[in-house]
Symmetry: C2
Subunit: 205 residues, 2 copies
């Protein structure tokens, strides 16, 4: 029934250890109409990473050309490297009526909302600081100092939740995924996305 309604751009962020990756994976597995935007980066690929899967690996020069040409939807620098969202595939999918999901560093969330006021932004939070710490330790291999450092990072990132439209607690994975599915469904029913309702109703009259 949706016909050619433009797709939704969903922006997901989470503090360090928030479990964004797991939620994304499950969401993409369940939502046929959802496409993952692959970011571009200037950092070197890690063992096992494939160009076009985890990232598009590009040179600093190429990246800066894309920024200059307006071909990046958003970008940020992080530990000396560029990370960004190429605009073209996102635009193509949205026009086709596909929803597109974008994983974004907490720092990038503010920028994308001003570039794309239409997007729907979701901040994923662990249910409590206790659980967050357990999850960070649970990875097993991490040293104590590293866990403490990541906890500190998370503490600094959590207040950024206030810059997002929705907050989803990642307590049980299924609930978090269903929350995001409900958000997508509800957003499509917003009056602001259905201003053509009278035309539509008269189309078959």
């Amino acid at each position: 029934m949706e016909g050619k309604q433009r797709g939704l751009l969903l922006v997901l962020s989470a503090p360090s250890g928030g479990g964004k990756g797991t939620v994304m994976k499950e969401l993409l597995a369940q939502e046929e109409n959802l496409r993952l935007s692959v970011s571009a980066t200037t950092r070197a690929p890690r063992p096992g990473e494939v160009h076009g899967e985890q990232y598009y690996f590009v040179s600093r020069e190429e990246f800066e050309d894309m920024i200059a040409g307006g071909r990046m939807l958003e970008h940020a620098q992080y530990v000396g490297n560029y990370y960004g969202t190429p605009r073209a595939p996102v635009e193509k999918w949205l026009t086709e009526g596909r929803d597109v999901v974008l994983e974004i560093e907490v720092q990038g969330g503010k920028q994308i909302k001003s570039l794309c006021p239409d997007c729907v932004s979701v901040f994923i939070l662990p249910p409590s600081m206790e659980v967050l710490e357990k999850r960070l330790r649970g990875r097993g291999t991490e040293e104590d100092a590293l866990v403490r450092k990541r906890l500190e990072t998370a503490r600094g990132e959590i207040p950024h939740a206030a810059e997002y439209d929705y907050i989803v607690y990642n307590d049980r994975l299924e609930d978090a995924v269903e929350d995001i599915q409900a958000i997508l469904r509800a957003e499509k029913r917003k009056y602001s996305r259905n201003r053509d309702f009278t035309e539509r109703m008269n189309a078959h009259a």
Copy 2:
């Protein structure tokens, strides 16, 4: 997991023949946490109508006392009679964390949004004017002139959709009900309803 989060006030309206009644009934059957606000009216009960079920039937004097005392959340006059929403039960349920649904005449929708900016308003539309006409005729007993009159009324009411937060097309009943369920779920995840997120996360720390 919601704990004591305040319930949502859901306002439903539809043009004449929009099928609001059917959607409401199914929604209430499926949503355990949802309560129906029963309106008060000064019109006489019709055969079979029970005080406290379809309406609270009150005198004109009682109704005006309730308005004067601030005990009506909203009210409107319609064909010479008062219709309104008693405030007390709605407030009680919301405080307990129940969601409350209010059926409201199209004319009342604007008023309730200014009285209760926090509420979630949904306008139910038939999928097309063609379907609307079929549904109005489908009742069988209606004369042609009456059907045409109700169609005209609906045509005048449909543009009021612009005053609501969400538009739900009542094509397949299940889809309309699921849309509203998604809206309720998504609204509870809005940042504006979760400003206490840091307290909550630290509660178990």
